[in-house]
Symmetry: D4
Subunit: 160 residues, 8 copies
């Protein structure tokens, strides 16, 4: 069985690449999905394809709805949803995705630093794991998929 | 039929009271629900009832999970979910609620000022109305429940 | 038990009033719901409440989304959905409602004249009754709720 | 991941072939599905297989129900539903499909020319994209699946 | 809380009246629902209201679909579904209702005599109780609603 | 796409083999599933594996519940459910399966001869096609999957 | 709004009465439901109503299935499910109820003493609150329903 | 078709290996899944990956929630859930899994010795088979998948 893991949230650092590389190194049977992470493209996709808008609100609206075709589909297909909150920006779409995934009953893993813990307490309360680093996410996937936990003699039975 | 409307989000201004007063003035058949809006109580409820925690993370966790008993129940019972984003704070729980409501298929009404429009474009894209004032929310409820729209001769048929 | 019946579709004749009057005359325990049937109000509600739009497309969009708060909520609450197709106009929203109700598993009653039967065959195929007159709809409700069928000695047991 | 895209609606022009050819040219991992587009066959399938009917209504009914075996199954399996409204005919089945897909939570893409925009405003309001050409549909699929947007340096991460 | 109990199946004896009378005597908070039990009316309702059919198959079809408006609605609203199989007839609609209720997760109570036990074994296997008499059904309702069991000192706590 | 078709009902003639052979001859991409059709084995499986019972009721119960592991799983995985009623026996399990499939929203095809039409009218009313022969079922599958209808020039577009 | 709270688990102490009394004292709008708590009656209900069994397994089976009519119905209707584990017995039915409620998405409150914490860690991990006393449960209900938290000036907004 | 079977419960004997070996010997098309069965790893996974906790309760909580990512995902993907109760320990998580699987409508097979039958009667009542040995589970799978029942001439039709 291949697990599908959706990586939602912050798009300005290489945390997705780190998780994907870590999972590849560990040979994990995981297919990663994500939103379009090209900031300008994700802002402009609606008007670029469907025609320009004078009003910035509708410019954004067309783009956000087009992105939703991708994000909602992939979240619904995911086995696990990981949501990362970075240092900057409002990142309301990350929290929106966390709520969306939670209502669908998807196991939720959150990633953020300690300084945001209080502000994210409702999101953390809906999560099954709260992490700080990509390495922890990889370790979780290695454990929940294969039963591998470093330092423990491995006789765990893993799903194929 | 009484409509149930959940008022999520910002808790530092009197926007809920304005909507409730406006709805009462208009005689709308609406029951409003909301999270606990007493900031300190909602932070401390977990430890106050279940026992203190040394670690702030678990202090928050117990409180946030206890609040979730209320918020998830009321969102699931709501006919319409209104989410307001204020001027300050991260308000990730508001965006989480919007995502949660959206995945449940609840009609979503968002309230915020123009300066947050770009950051909230994914949330707005999931909404059926984007408002700026409590008066607009009352007007929407009066229209969608009763078919009343000021300036239009009223011959609309309303649901009982 | 009170049955809730949503009356979707054509808004230029008094078919809803005829059904409601017929049901009242028969003393049926039915609460009728419907879209806002004031044509101009339903076109303009979005801009009237949320602000004008230069572009007619967004004018319509804001109105149609606002109407959806009402229509989707009421269709989901309905026990039976009746959709009438009249002589004129495209009436795509009526067919949309029929498809929406059908996917939700709502018992569907369709009303139209013979000349539209071929064009509506897919909609009719999803319906549990295809009618031509408001009187037939009232007769169906009287039968399915009370077990009354004129000319048949009434010993049917009706749900309360 | 292969995406499944259902192409509903108008059957008298080659818009499906244009989308399929465009997707093939772009190497998109998409499996397209559609209703039976042979007009006479889709009208007559019921009686041809199950036996003739004297009454045209039942002739149509048997055919429409048989077609529903295909259309409902394929819409439920689709990741994205595209509905095109052409210049002619009532096309109520297209609007029915749009409503059906919408109630199932399928991302909806609509295609029509400007002159139908007002009549289709409720359908458009339920869509995540409103297009005019097959090329736009292909561009949307290329963007939502691969993150490709012409003119934007491609560093987007796509789902496999 | 009032429990809703749907009484499906055989319509030629007074078993429904016996259950209803027994429940009334015991003061049980139960609302009973049922199909239309007037045999001729349930056969003819379709053509009586919607117009005659030459072909008996369509005569039956219109009636059966009209009855389905009632039966599916009431089964979906029921808390408990009781299905009785009598001595005579095929009673396939009773078994159909049992399967329908079972797929919806409704607690199923079956009533039949021993001679049909083998033929009904798949239906019985889906049931939570297999009874022979109306008195047993009343006793079950009295027990599951009120915790009353004759001969046992009553200190059970019942749901309100 | 491979379609999965569950063949429920009568087990004393070779109708399943005829459908499977016909589908194979036509090269249809269909995987057929069915209950265990060995009458004695399906009666005795429970006691054979789990231990004998003195009481015939529990003998049957253990077998019927064991068969339900197979039948409910396969019905839920099916794209289309075909239910055949033969000349003999009560066949309540066939009608139960039809109701079960119907409540799950599965497209239902029924097969029986004319003499049972009246007794099966509620089952037929829930079906999308009522057939008499295995050849008709094969023809339906060929049409709904491939758009093939003998005598009609084949330009239909089929799902892959 | 009245909240419905199901009290599952241990039946040998008066914890239910304490919660009910505490809720009554606080004037909480709560309707409590529970399994039948008369131990002998809940063991014997099946055979008492449906007839004796020689085999203890089937004696238990008939009783347990009859109790399931009540327990599954009431858990599905509950807004909140409280499960208490006492000092003695295996109490597997309590854990079963917790799993059942959890899969239905019901907010879960668990009650047990510290010595069982490790053995119950999977159950606790699915809960939104882990309590030790009936008083804590009452305090949680008072907080989540009314926003009351002793020691905090009460300006919380409660759902009606 | 490959069946997926989740093996929940007791982790101190080799019952899973026996079932897997038996299924392999019989050539059954089954993919088995299970929780992590390394006791120490499953206790410590949370703190090992996410950081140590002073309080044993939170140590357990982090581990149990991490295990839930695996167990809930695999139970939801399973076609059949087998739950074994051993001689020792409380095994509340096994009963929790049984309740969870039951509420999801998964066919449930239980394994335990006679001495626990009374205490497990509610769990058994939700099961479609109650077994004592791994060999019985293999025999059930061979029967429900392939229609094989030793001693019965094999002409059963199996799903592919």
């Amino acid at each position: 069985m291949t697990w599908t893991v959706y990586l939602s949230g912050e798009i300005h650092t290489d945390w997705r690449e780190q998780i994907e590389q870590g999972a590849a190194n560990a040979g994990l049977p995981v297919a990663f999905t994500a939103p379009v992470t090209h900031h300008a493209a994700s802002d402009d996709c609606g008007v670029a394809i469907l025609g320009a808008e004078d009003d910035k609100f509708w410019h954004d609206h067309k783009g956000a709805q087009m992105n939703a075709i991708r994000t909602r589909t992939l979240i619904e297909k995911a086995d696990v949803v990981v949501v990362r909150f970075g240092d900057k920006y409002k990142q309301w779409n990350a929290a929106f995705d966390a709520g969306y995934a939670s209502a669908l009953g998807k196991p939720l893993v959150v990633m953020h630093q300690d300084e945001h813990a209080h502000a994210l307490k409702e999101v953390d309360a809906a999560a099954l794991a709260v992490t700080k680093t990509p390495q922890q996410v990889v370790a979780i996937l290695d454990y929940v998929i294969n039963g591998h936990l470093p330092g423990y003699t491995d006789r765990a039975q893993a799903a194929q």
